[in-house]
Symmetry: none
Subunit: 579 residues, 2 copies
C-alpha cells in the first residue's frame, strides 16, 4: 500500500467486482446524465405512497431529459453491507463553449500486471462441509506457488477485500486425485459475505504479491428497500432539484452510480456512436448481458416501438425503445431499452434494407454466421408482425417521433447544438416552470409568449451561452410537433398505439388500436370482426376474453374501468370458454 500499488490493486479489484459490463466514465470525460434513469433506481414507492402521489399535485419540473456534464471526480466505492460496488460521480453541467468533441481515450495504465480469476460458486463451494475448490488453471495462474516437494503442500493466503478487511485462507493441495483447495477461513468468508450458489468469487494477485478477494453476486439487489428516513417522494424531488439547481448555477452535483444496475450516465463518445444508428421499429438488435465467460453471448430482439417511456419526460431518449426479445430467458430483461444499450444486428446489407419483409430469413442468415447460438435462434417460434410496423408508411407518428429521438445531425456530432438564433432572448433560471430571474419581463409578442411557454414546459436552462440552448431550440420544435399531435390524437403520441390480440387456435396474431374505441362493447365488436366470429364473443357461450396487464397477470376482460384497462393492457387473448 505504501508504494501506491495498493491503489492500483483496489481499482482492479473494483473493476473485477463490477463485472465485464462495467462502464464508468473517466475524470474530465463529458457524459450525458439522464435524471430519469437516476430516479428509476430509487426505491419503489409503496402502494400507499403511490395513492398519495395521485392525490397530490406533483411539482412540475422542467429539467431536460439529458444533461451534458463534465466528470469532475469519480470515486469507486462499495457498500458496507453487501460489497456491492458503486461509484460516486461528481458532475458539472457543461457550458455552451464546451465543444462536443469526443472524449480523448482515457486509459489509466496500471503500473503493474495483475493475475486474477473469477469463479462461480458451486453447491460444494458454498456448503458447510469443506472448502472452496480452486480450478487448476486458476491456481497455476494466480495463487502463489506451493512447495510441491511436500506430501500435502499448504500455505496461508492473506488477502484484503474491497473495504481493506483482511481474510485468511488455508491453501492446500491434497486429495486423490490432487487438487487445490481453500479450506480454513473459507466458510467464514462465505458466511460473512452471505454467498450463495451462483455468486462469484474474485481473486486478484498483484505483481508485488499482494492479494485481494472480492465477490460478484448473481442477483445484485434490484430496487433498494424503501428507506424509513425519507419518503420516495422526497428522494425523487431531491434528485430533480439537485440537478436543476446545478444546471442553473453551473455547480457540481453528486450522483451515485451502479454500473451493474442501470446506465444513466452515458459517455459522450458512446452517445455519439449510438446516434449514428437510426433506430426504427422492426430493427433487430443484440444486447450484452452479464453472464458466464463467453462474453459474446448476447440477447437478441426486435424494436417494436419508439417513443417516450414516460409522459413526464417528453422526447426523452431514456428507454425510448420498446423491444421484444427473441427467446425467453430466466433472467429479467427490460421491455424498454435505451439506444446506447444495444447494437444493431447487422448481418448483410441485404437484410438491412428489408428487415421485416425478410425477417425470418435474415435471422437464419445471421444465425448461421454466428456459430454458438445459431440453433437457439432458429427456435424462435412466434414472430410478431403488428400491422403498423411493416413499413408501409402509415405510421407518420412513429417516424416523426423517431426523428425527434434520433435527430438527423451531422455524423459524429451530437444533435444538440446546431441552431441558436432564438437563444439570444436569454434564458434565465427556471424552476418548476417559473422564471426565477426575470419574471416574464422579456416576453414581448403573443407568439413569442406562446413559444416561450411551450419551451418552458420542456426545459429550463441556463443563460444563452449554455450549450443546452441549442438543445432547447430543437426540442422546442419537437414539443410543438408533439403538441399538435396530442391535440389530434388525445393520447401520448409516441407510445405504440396498437395492442396485440391473440386467439386460441389461430397462429397469427392481430393488433388493435384501442384509442379508436369507446368501451368494451366496441372492443368486442372489433375483436369479433377481426377473427370472423361475429356474435360469438358477445353471446358469452364459446369464448372468453382475457388480457395480461402490466404485471403480466392474466385477467378477465370487463372488470376494470375502460380507461384503466386501456392504460394497463399488454396483450389480449381470446380463449375458449372451457379454459
Amino acid at each position: 500500500m505504501a508504494d501506491g500499488a495498493g491503489d492500483d490493486l483496489f481499482k482492479e479489484l473494483w473493476r473485477l467486482c463490477a463485472g465485464p459490463l462495467m462502464d464508468v466514465p473517466c475524470v474530465q470525460d463529458r457524459v450525458f446524465y439522464f435524471p430519469q434513469g437516476h430516479i428509476e433506481l430509487l426505491p419503489e414507492p409503496t402502494e400507499q405512497e403511490l395513492r398519495q402521489m395521485k392525490n397530490q399535485k406533483s411539482p412540475k419540473y422542467d429539467l431536460p431529459s439529458k444533461i451534458l456534464c463534465r466528470v469532475i471526480d469519480v470515486k469507486c466505492l462499495a457498500e458496507m453491507e453487501t460489497d456491492e460496488v458503486y461509484a460516486r460521480i461528481t458532475l458539472q453541467p457543461s457550458s455552451d463553449n464546451d465543444p462536443l468533441d469526443p472524449n480523448p481515450i482515457c486509459s489509466e495504465k496500471p503500473k503493474q500486471k495483475f493475475y486474477s480469476f473469477c469463479k462461480t460458486l458451486s453447491t460444494s463451494d458454498t456448503s458447510t462441509h469443506g472448502g472452496f475448490s480452486v480450478l487448476r488453471k486458476h491456481a497455476n495462474e494466480c495463487l502463489p506457488q506451493l512447495d510441491m516437494t511436500m506430501e500435502n503442500p499448504t500455505q496461508e493466503l492473506v488477502a484484503k477485500d474491497i473495504h481493506g478487511v483482511e481474510w485468511k485462507f488455508k491453501h492446500i493441495y491434497r486429495g486423490h486425485p490432487k487438487r487445490h483447495l481453500l479450506t480454513t477461513g473459507w466458510s467464514a468468508f462465505v458466511a460473512a459475505k452471505k454467498l450463495v450458489v451462483g455468486d462469484s468469487f474474485v481473486f486478484l494477485r498483484g505483481e508485488n504479491g499482494q492479494l485481494r478477494v472480492g465477490i460478484r453476486r448473481l442477483n445484485p439487489p434490484q430496487s433498494p428497500t424503501p428507506s424509513s428516513v425519507v419518503s420516495t417522494q422526497n428522494m425523487r424531488l431531491g434528485v430533480i432539484v439537485t440537478a436543476s439547481h446545478s444546471v442553473m448555477t453551473s455547480t457540481m452535483f453528486v450522483v451515485y452510480y451502479k454500473p451493474r444496475t442501470s446506465q444513466f450516465i452515458v459517455s459522450l463518445n458512446k452517445y455519439i456512436d449510438t446516434m449514428n444508428n437510426d433506430f426504427k421499429i422492426g430493427m433487430r438488435f443484440k444486447m450484452r448481458h452479464e453472464g458466464e465467460d463467453p462474453l459474446d453471448k448476447r440477447f437478441c430482439g426486435t424494436i417494436v416501438g419508439v417513443g417516450d417511456e414516460s409522459r413526464e419526460w417528453p422526447n426523452s431518449q431514456w428507454r425510448s425503445l420498446k423491444v421484444q426479445w427473441d427467446e425467453p430467458a430466466t433472467m429479467q430483461r427490460p421491455d424498454r431499452v435505451s439506444c446506447w444499450e444495444i447494437e444493431p444486428l447487422v448481418t448483410s446489407p441485404l437484410n438491412m434494407i428489408q428487415p421485416m419483409a425478410k425477417g425470418k430469413r435474415s435471422r437464419h442468415a445471421e444465425a448461421s454466421s454466428s456459430a454458438a447460438s445459431g440453433s437457439k435462434e432458429s427456435q424462435v417460434a412466434t414472430i410478431w408482425h403488428p400491422p403498423h410496423l411493416n413499413g408501409n408508411g402509415n405510421s407518420s407518428q412513429d417516424l416523426k417521433n423517431n426523428k425527434a429521438v434520433v435527430p438527423a445531425g451531422p455524423a459524429g456530432e451530437g444533435p444538440a447544438c446546431d441552431h441558436n438564433e432564438d437563444g439570444k432572448k436569454g434564458m434565465d433560471c427556471w424552476l418548476f416552470g417559473v422564471n426565477l430571474t426575470s419574471s416574464y419581463s422579456n416576453v414581448v409578442t403573443p407568439l413569442e409568449k406562446e413559444l416561450w411557454c411551450e419551451a418552458s414546459t420542456i426545459l429550463h436552462c441556463g443563460p444563452k451561452e449554455s450549450i443546452i440552448v441549442g438543445a432547447c431550440e430543437i426540442e422546442k420544435v419537437q414539443s410543438l410537433n408533439n403538441h399538435s399531435l396530442s391535440n389530434k390524437q388525445g393520447h401520448v403520441p409516441s407510445m405504440r398505439t396498437r395492442t396485440k390480440v391473440k386467439m386460441e387456435g389461430v397462429a397469427v396474431g392481430r393488433a388493435i388500436d384501442l384509442t379508436t374505441l369507446n368501451g368494451y362493447d366496441e372492443l368486442i365488436v372489433e375483436l369479433e370482426k377481426m377473427f370472423d366470429i361475429e356474435g360469438e364473443i358477445i353471446s358469452q357461450k364459446k369464448w372468453a376474453v382475457t388480457f395480461t396487464d402490466e404485471e403480466n397477470d392474466l385477467m378477465l376482460l370487463d372488470d376494470d374501468l375502460w380507461q384503466d384497462f386501456c392504460k394497463m393492457v399488454k396483450r389480449i387473448f381470446i380463449c375458449s370458454k372451457e379454459d
Copy 2:
C-alpha cells in the same frame, strides 16, 4: 384475528416497542413540523461531500423553521431489518383560517385488556447456554397458566412479532428453586433479532389469549448509514423542496418519524403548553429519558444559551436552547434541546408562589435561584440573546416569518401569533429565496395573467386565493379521487381503480370495485358470485380469503376495519382452506 383484536394488539405492541417516551400524534391533530429536525436525521455527509458542499452554492430556501400541519394519516411501521419502530405520517400544511385551538384529546380506547411485560436482558438471557429467565411476577401476570400439578410443567407459546412472524417458545417451570424459563426457541429469537445484553424483551398477551413479542434496543441505530442511492445533498434538498411544495400548494406530504430518535413533529398542545414557559439563560430544567422502570428519573440541567442552532434557520425554535447537564452520564445527551423536550425544574411549592412576577415567571425566578448549579451557571461563556426571545424588540422579519407559518391565531395562544395585522396579506410563497407570490402581484395585464396561469399550473401553486382555500379543495379532490383521477393526474399510468382478485385453481383473474361495497359481507357475496361459488366462502368450510397489503404481506381478510382494508388492499386471493 377474526374479531379485529389483532389490530389492537399490533398497536399495543408497537407502543411497547416504541418505549415510554413515544409521542406520536393522532390523526386530525395539528402539529408543528420542524424540517430542521427532520434533516438532522439524514445520514451524515461524508468528508468529501462536505468539502464539495462548501465549493457549491447551496440553494437558498425560505422555508419557515416550523410548519403548522394537520395530521392526515399515521401508519405505525417497523423496519424489516432491525424491528425499529417508526411512523409514516402524512401531513397537510394548515391553511390560514385554521384556528389555533388545541387538539381534542384523542384516545383510541382499545377494546380489550392487555397483559404485558418488558425485561432488560441479562448476560445469561443472551448467552448461548440456556434460555430466558422469566421473572416470577411477569410469569404470573402475563404468561398463560401452567398446570402446576405436574412435576415440570411446560407449554408451547406461539407469539407473533411486529411483522406478524411467528415465534415459538417452550415455557417451562423447573429447577431448584423453581423458576419460569423460556428455553427452546429463545436462542433462535436472540440470534435472529441480534439481541445483546441491555436490550429489552417485550411480551404481550391480549384478553383473547393472543401473544405478541417485540424488542426494544438499548442503543437504537443513531444516524443511518449513508445510502448509496442518492447523495445526502439530494436528501436534504428533497426534504426541503417537498415541504416547500406542500406549503405552497397545500398538499399532503409524507415524513418518516422515529419517536425514539428525535421529536421534529410536535403536537400543537404540547407546543402551546411549552410556550407558556419563558425559557431564559440560567433556567433549571429536567428532561425525561428512556431508562429503567423508575420513569421519574430524569436528567437535570441548566440553560446556558438561547438562540439559533444553525445560521440557515434564523430564529428557529429547533434546539434553540443550549444546555449544560448536571451530572455526567453514560448515555449520549445533546448539548442543545428544544423547549418542548424539557420541563422547568420546580423544587418546592414555596418557590412557586414567589413574587417575581405573575404566573409563569415565578418558575424562572425559582430556577435561577436554585442552589445546586449556581456556580456552573457562572461558567457560561457564550450567550445569545435573540431579540424576540427576551421581548425587547421585534425583528420584523421574524414576525413575518412566524406569521406565514402560524397565521392569525387568537392572541395569547403562543408567542408566535401575537401580532397579526400583517397577516391579512396572505401567505407568501418563497422558494430558493424568491418570493413567488410577489411576482404574481406584479402581474398586470390579462396576457400576463394568462402567463401566470400557465406558470401556476406548472407550479401547482395558484394565486393566493387558492392557497387560502387550499385545504378544502384538496378534500374535495380526495373525495372524488377514484373517478376523476385518471383525468387529473395521469402521472401514475398503471394504477387501477379496481382491485385484482385471484382464485386458487382459476387461471384468469378478476377485478372488483371496492368503492361500491359497504363492508366485508358485501365483498364476500360479490366474490362468491364472481367465481360461481355462492355460499361457499361464507360457510367458511372450503375457502379462505386473504389479501396482500401495500407492503406485500399476505393477510387474512376480516381483521382490519373495512375502511383500512380498502385503503391498503393490493390483491385479493381466494384459496382453499387447507392452505
